[in-house]
């Protein structure tokens, strides 16, 4: 069975790029435009991994990670955050909130796939 991955980003183009890349690699992808949207969509579909941007309106990435870690079914899933090189503190904050790892923007599809494989194992 194919794994489900959720991508959360307020930028449609980034979302599009991520879901295209992951889809091509054989994953099922759900898109969400911010933390709130993500939480709402996750109650319908269980995912195996989340890739989230940090800076988003309504609910940011850190808030989303914290919320997800409170839920039993998302306590141990890998969550990857997207950061820019200027967000060192954010990275630490995200890790403290329970993020598994990070990808620094800008990244290319290969990098995204290698990290996904790394934390999902397949």
């Amino acid at each position: 069975m194919n794994k489900w991955i959720m991508t959360v980003d307020d930028s449609a183009s980034v979302r599009q790029m991520i879901s295209f890349t992951l889809h091509e690699a054989g994953y099922n992808v759900i898109e969400a435009c911010d933390g709130k949207d993500a939480l709402a969509k996750l109650s319908n579909q269980k995912v195996d991994m989340v890739v989230t941007d940090l800076n988003m309106p309504n609910m940011d990435g850190i808030g989303l990670i914290k919320e997800l870690r409170k839920k039993t079914e998302y306590r141990f899933i890998p969550i990857i955050m997207l950061t820019t090189e200027s967000q060192i503190e954010k990275k630490a904050e995200g890790k403290a909130a329970g993020a598994t790892g990070w990808i620094v923007k800008p990244f290319n599809p290969e990098q995204l796939l290698s990290v996904t494989k790394k934390v999902l194992g397949c």
Binding site: S13, V14, Q16, I79, A99, G101, L120
Partner: protein, 687 residues
């Protein structure tokens, strides 16, 4: 495929730009609106993040500085000004141009864009906040793999809460396995009893031996997401593709398994056991030794080693002490319990090593005493005097270099005693003394110093003659009153000799100043006591060693200094109030005793505000208590003395320098000299 994404990005970016424009217009009206600023920042952030991903590097670079500006605004470090808004508007136009222009024109090289960036940077710099440094990419850093296959030993102990960050440690191990053939063993010693086990925690650690042609950095990269929270240690077991020793891997694993138990089991019980075993062992050794003595009748008790080797050892120990201080500092800063424990052990061993190494260089002073007997015998014959030399404390140990340097001054002082001190047998008999004069050479240890005394029962020093001579030479004005000690100190002035006639032995007035200089160079002091008709005593106080001393690290403003700890008696506080109470004179009342002090800040002319409460380090200088006022007393410091080099060797008041843990240099103070200089200065201001 990429074009399709590019198109999507372009559309999105144009949308964002429009949003930015309206946002900026709003901001012009409501420059304080936090939500508005956040929206603008986010839009910029998205443009920056996405543009880089779709090949618009120019936009990404250009937007970076604008984003920084709004980040500063967002955090309140910068306020919205017309300049910022104007500049941002201008840059939005350029971003639009960059988006539309599909040609690979370099916008970043246009003078206009450069100007904009320049203004933005000026703004950023004005807040003085440095832009954060670039983080290493979370994705795998490409490093050229070595062609040679290396054997690595990896110890990996994940943080107990590793599962809570969504990490599966087994995946990391799988990834590691892909690097090459590997051998793994898990450490399960930390797994608690079933009843106490929390299934959400990871208790296991792993030892891995991996043979791989990958670079060590590629292997470390596997753990990039967990390296901050986990215990990870990488060791290369092979050298140029060859194992260090044949069965190194197996042996290493066995050893680590043992070590593992040592570390994780109840360490105290093991310590107790080992102590008991040690005691038993020691008993065995003692018995064995006894046996040995009985059987062999001869045990090697010493070996001869060239002094060079020992000097090198002491130098190395000095370097180690400096390095150890650095380690301790780093350990304290990182506040990692494991590192701290290691740093403490290293410190203890380093100190022991230092003591042992310095001890090797220690020689009994008796080796020099030996040659004095002959000297006294020859001299007394030449001078027609009868003198007996008594040496005491020949077993007192002193650093070899110190002994070498002290020999000549001692010879000179002994000659002086014989020549000026001891009278001829006839004179002695007339004075009712034993016709045979007595010179006692006595050495004993006192704190960090060795005191060498030359006591004679001769005529004593003629204070008046010394004084007259000094006045005649113009060293002293006739009306100056001098204490006994000061009067005797006159004899260390060059050109001064009270000998009525010049003999081959002494009396030319050269020598005592040379003696004084030699003792000064050893950071020692000379004290003279004398009683007319009864004899005189010269006491030399020499520090035990010249290489490493225990120092007290102190700070004045941002300068660090070292005081020799052996002289320090106590540290007290000095408040502004105290200063006022003593009528601005440099005196402090310590338990109803008046102690003069020297403010190092003034002495070294250090600029800056004095702290409200200063510290006074009270030291003993030749029996007189003197305070040194400093800003802060940092604490004890193992001081490896380094010379200041040829250019600064004549700087008075500073005897050398040492390197602190963080690489800074601290000057070691020559407290005797400073007190002396201060005294001279104060006297001159009084006149």
């Amino acid at each position: 495929m990429l074009d399709q994404h590019k198109q999507a990005f372009r559309e999105e970016a144009l949308e964002l730009l429009a949003e930015l424009e309206s946002g900026l217009l709003e901001l012009e009206k409501f420059p304080e609106d936090k939500a508005l600023i956040a929206t603008i920042f986010r839009a910029l952030h998205t443009i920056k993040g996405s543009s880089g991903m779709f090949g618009y590097d120019d936009i990404s670079m250009f937007t970076h500085d604008i984003e920084t500006i709004f980040d500063l605004v967002r955090s309140g470090k910068l306020t919205v000004s017309k300049q910022i808004i104007d500049l941002t508007f201008k840059s939005l136009d350029y971003i639009k141009a960059m988006l539309d222009d599909s040609s690979s024109k370099k916008f970043s090289e246009l003078t206009e864009t450069k100007e904009i960036l320049h203004s933005f940077r000026a703004l950023i710099n004005s807040t003085k906040s440095t832009t954060p440094e670039t983080v290493t990419s979370g994705t795998i850093v490409q490093v050229a793999d070595t062609q040679v296959t290396q054997i690595y030993y990896i110890h990996f102990k994940p943080n107990e809460d590793i599962f809570l960050s969504g990490t599966n440690p087994l995946l990391l191990l799988n990834e590691l396995e892909e690097m090459g053939p590997f051998y793994i063993r898990s450490r399960d010693i930390a797994i608690p009893a079933f009843t106490e086990m929390n299934p959400e925690k990871c208790y296991t650690a792993w030892d891995i031996v991996l043979s791989s042609n990958k670079n060590i950095n590629s292997i470390k990269d596997i753990f990039i997401f967990v390296e901050d929270d986990s215990t990870l240690c990488f060791t290369v077991l092979s050298k140029e593709g060859v194992l260090i020793s044949e069965d190194a891997v197996e042996l290493f694993l066995k050893e680590t398994a043992k070590l593992n138990k040592l570390v994780d089991n109840d360490i105290i019980s093991l310590y107790v056991q080992s102590q008991q075993k040690k005691n038993v062992d020691e008993q065995h050794i003692r018995e064995a030794d006894r046996h040995k003595i009985h059987h062999d009748g001869e045990v090697v008790s010493s070996i001869r080693v060239s002094a060079e080797k020992i000097d090198q050892l002491v130098n190395l120990v000095g370097e180690l002490v400096t390095l150890q201080a650095q380690l301790t500092q780093v350990a304290n800063e990182t506040s990692s319990a494991i590192l701290l424990a290691i740093a403490e052990s290293v410190e203890r061993i380093t100190w022991d090593l230092r003591d042992s190494a310095l001890n090797i260089r220690m020689l009994p002073i008796g080796t020099t005493f030996g040659k004095f007997n002959r000297l006294i015998r020859d001299l007394s014959k030449e001078l027609g005097k009868e003198v007996e030399l008594i040496t005491l404390g020949a077993e007192t140990e002193l650093d070899k270099t110190v002994i070498e340097k002290i020999s000549d001054p001692l010879i000179h002082l002994l000659r002086n005693s014989l020549d000026h001190g001891i009278e001829t047998p006839e004179v002695r008999q007339l004075a009712g003394k034993n016709p045979v004069g007595k010179v006692t050479l006595k050495a004993f240890q006192s704190g960090g110093y060795v005191v060498i005394q030359i006591v004679d029962d001769g005529a004593g020093i003629d204070k008046e003659a010394l004084r007259t001579k000094a006045v005649n030479l113009g060293l002293l004005s006739p009306e100056t009153l001098l204490s006994d000690a000061d009067t005797y100190a006159l004899m260390f002035n060059p050109g001064l000799s009270t000998a009525k006639q010049v003999t081959s032995v002494s009396g030319r007035g050269v020598g005592m100043d040379v003696v004084k200089k030699a003792i000064d160079n050893l950071r020692g002091t000379i004290e003279v006591k004398s009683e007319k008709g009864k004899g005189s005593t010269l006491s030399l106080k020499i520090p035990l060693t010249l290489a490493i001393i225990d120092g007290l690290l102190i700070r004045v403003q941002d300068q660090f200094y070292i005081l020799p700890l052996s002289s320090v008696e106590e540290c007290v506080e000095l408040t502004r109030h105290d200063t006022v109470m003593s009528n601005q004179r440099n005196l402090i009342n310590i338990r109803s005793e008046i102690v003069p002090y020297i403010r190092l800040r003034d002495f070294f002319l250090i600029k800056g505000e004095r702290p409200e409460i200063e510290q006074v380090v009270v030291v003993d200088i030749n029996g007189i208590r003197v305070g040194f006022v400093v800003d802060t007393v940092v604490g004890q410091h193992q001081t490896v003395l380094k010379s200041l080099g040829a250019l600064y060797k004549n700087v008075e008041g500073i005897s050398g320098a040492t390197i602190l843990g963080d690489g800074r240099v601290a000057l070691t103070l020559d407290i005797n000299k400073i007190a002396e200089l201060q005294e001279i200065e104060e006297k001159s201001t009084l006149v």
